[in-house]
Amino acid sequence: MIYFSNTKILSILLVIFIALMFAVPNFFTKDQLNSFPSFIPKQQVNLGLDLQGGSHLLLEVDTVEIIKERLENLNSDVRRVLKKNNIQYSNFKNTEDNLKFVVEEFPAEIQKEILEISVSNSQNILQMGDQTNLVITRDDNQVSISFTDEFIKLAVSNAVAQSLEIVRRRIDELGTREPSIQRQGSSRIIIQLPGIDDPDRIKALLGQTAKLTFQLVDTSTNYDPLNPKKAPVGSEILSSDTDDSFKYIVKKRVMVGGENLVDAQPGFDPQTNEPIVSFRFDRLGASKFGRVTQQNVGKPFAIILDDTVISAPVIREAILGGSGQISGGFDSEEANDLAILLRAGALPAPLIILEERSVGPDLGADSIEAGQYAAIIGFVAVIIFMMFVYRYFGFLADIALIINLFMVLGILSLFQATLTLPGIAGIILTIGMAVDANVLIFERIKEEIRSGSKMINAVGNGYKRALSTILDANITTLIAAVILFFMASGPVRGFSITLAIGIFTSVFTAFTFTRLLISIYAKSLKPSLVGMKIND
């Protein structure tokens, strides 16, 4: 256990050297690093949001809405098929996960037709092929139609992927520094925004689905406050963005939608100097828009965002160029945000904010400072204590401890793992626990000497006999760290990372570097007990 070949010595030193090289950049500023030669690694430890300041948001795609919307579409398809085939039905209703109605007869061809329509309507979202996506059950005269589980899963997964893309576009539009946007689980999105400690604006941007539609105002009737729910068939009541007391009655049919927009830019109306958003349609949108405006000159045309009427200007003349503008009493930031939303596109379903954690830059800097301070003091205390207890061997363990710390930093930098405040705590804990492997070995060596071994044999046997204990003892802590890693997220996860790295480096240094030092020392000695006074 105490003889090392030259290759072994070299590789031990090389591993340590590489780890040190990767740790070094953390002690310089970015500018200093840039002036260094190119062979020196420049990656610094990645600081977590709790240390550099920033905002963490956990969002969930409202999957219930997705299914609800699909069921509503299905509802009108099914009714159409039934009507077309002159099938009498009653009690037609949508529940949360199916459609229900009562029929006298329900022939197989009709079922087949419904299935075909549903499949062809869903083709745009899914690679389901011709596989059916509906379950039709009939109990006496009661028919219920629901989507298959596979279809629901696929629809949700699709909507989440789409949401992720739109969230990314919206945040990118704001010019945020290095945002991280990731999917988590089946329906969640994690957003990390370094440097943003007040995410109000982003939350507001993400809180809107931004579904833009142009619909005609129903001029056949006026909104009746005494009878607030009543709208003519085919129309709906929508609130106004600018006036809380006023409601619009709008025809349900969507004439043109936001999906046909190709561009939207904030600007100012040259006459009123009011902030506006100007937009441009694609070819299909432009021709639809042109046709509608041509046929409805003199009628009010509602511009609707997320079921709220932004404005309803009267069409003065046909707009054939495919571009237009929205003004709705907003300020220039609102105009800017609306343009961002329209450019990025609509979310397929609303997003719900489940969790928000924001840390200001001051607190982050304070935490780093406090962490460094605690690390240095803890480190000095441990070093002094080890020298006090083990004298020369303690000194060797202290050198190993320093190398250990550099290795933890080096590995964190190399793998670009994230260092968090609990992560710093993990490193400090490692300072205390890393000496354990050496302590176990030293105690073994002492015992060997006490029972009469020569120093050189005592070192060899000490290492040999401490090995299994050290492995067992460290594996238990490692198991705890691994469980923590899988269970936790965010800052706490950083703790499990540094703890685990610390375990590896401390066992590694104890069995390579300290062993090397002690072997050199033991071999250089006359078989005396210098440095290890024994009391008996």
Binding site: E355, A374, V389, A425, A481, L484
Partner: protein
């Protein structure tokens, strides 16, 4: 140079007393847990937490009264580290995840108008009911999984008797940690779960070192009476147990004193855990082996192997 080796302390002599002592602590912990419960932080209870810093000292009672008029339910205000740093906690609002988002805005506006000096918002955390429910569940699962994993690992590496003794000591440590948080009513949040898991690892680490020596002595001294053998093993590893505990405590104390307010609770839990874990490996885990009928006939060839 300190030498704690060659001690001949009879640790098992007072085992009945230490068992009773431990049992009382466990019962006290259970009592405190069921009477006052844990003071869950927003990670587990949901709600909003805002840390602010101001130029001038703020009169807490006045601010608290002001915030409690906002009809957000219970609002707590406490000093956090210094007189200029305050922690504001607002309980979870009823009405689902989306509703919680309004709280921050309402509190911020109210603070801006109530306090004359500039307010620095250092930290804002909002945890909705869905996430807090999941966190409490995954925290509990993590602790159970860790204890179970230790049980399996020790069983695999030793014998079931050792595994049982170690896990009893481990559960003892976890209960006492939850107990001390119930008694002190210190905030119990996500990092505390991390601390408990670390305690599980640390306590096991300590126990394994003692057990390892017990196993070795079982092979070496076949005729020795088990009590003497356990005492011998504890004494032989005592020096290491103390040195490692001291270095770990030195590092943790430094973190506790200088590491800042945010991780104080976390560090406190670990300091407590190291003390309890060290105690339990000497006074719970090892003496328990006396009652668990450990196997004396270890495989002779491997015994020869590891004793030179």
């Amino acid at each position: 140079m300190i030498d704690i080796a060659n001690t001949k302390i009879n640790f098992l002599k007072s085992r009945i007393i230490t068992f009773i002592f431990s049992s009382i602590l466990v019962v006290l912990s259970f009592g405190a847990f069921f009477v006052s419960g844990l003071n869950f932080g927003i990670d587990f209870k949901g709600g909003t937490l805002i840390e602010i810093e101001t130029e001038n000292e703020i009169e807490i009672a006045g601010l608290r009264d002001n915030l409690n008029t906002l009809s957000l339910g219970d609002v707590q205000v406490q000093e956090f580290g210094s007189k200029n740093n305050l922690l504001i906690r607002v309980e979870q609002q009823s009405g689902g995840d989306q509703i919680q988002q309004n709280v921050v805005e309402i509190v911020k506006n109210s603070l801006d108008s109530y306090l004359s000096s500039e307010v620095n918002f250092r930290r804002t955390e909002v945890v909705g009911p869905k996430v807090s429910g999941e966190l409490i569940q995954s925290g509990a699962i993590a602790i159970l999984a860790a204890v179970f994993a230790m049980l399996i690992y020790i069983w695999f590496r030793f014998e079931w008797q050792f595994s049982l003794g170690a896990v009893v000591a481990l559960i003892h440590d976890v209960i006492l940690t939850i107990g001390v948080f119930s008694i002190t009513q210190l905030e119990f949040n996500l990092p505390i779960i991390a601390a408990i898991l670390t305690i599980v690892g640390y306590s096991m680490n300590d126990t394994v070192v003692v057990y390892d020596r017990v196993r070795e002595n079982l092979r070496k001294h076949r005729s020795k009476n088990i009590i003497d053998l356990l005492n011998l093993s504890i004494n032989e590893t005592l020096s290491r147990t103390i040195v490692t505990s001291v270095t770990t405590l030195l590092a943790l104390l430094s973190l506790f004193i200088f590491g800042g307010e945010v991780i104080k609770g976390f560090t406190f839990a670990m300091i407590w855990g190291v003390v309890v874990g060290t105690y339990s490996s000497i006074f719970v885990a090892a003496p328990l082996l006396n009652y668990l009928d450990v196997k004396r006939e270890w495989n002779t060839t491997s015994a020869v192997d590891s004793t030179r």
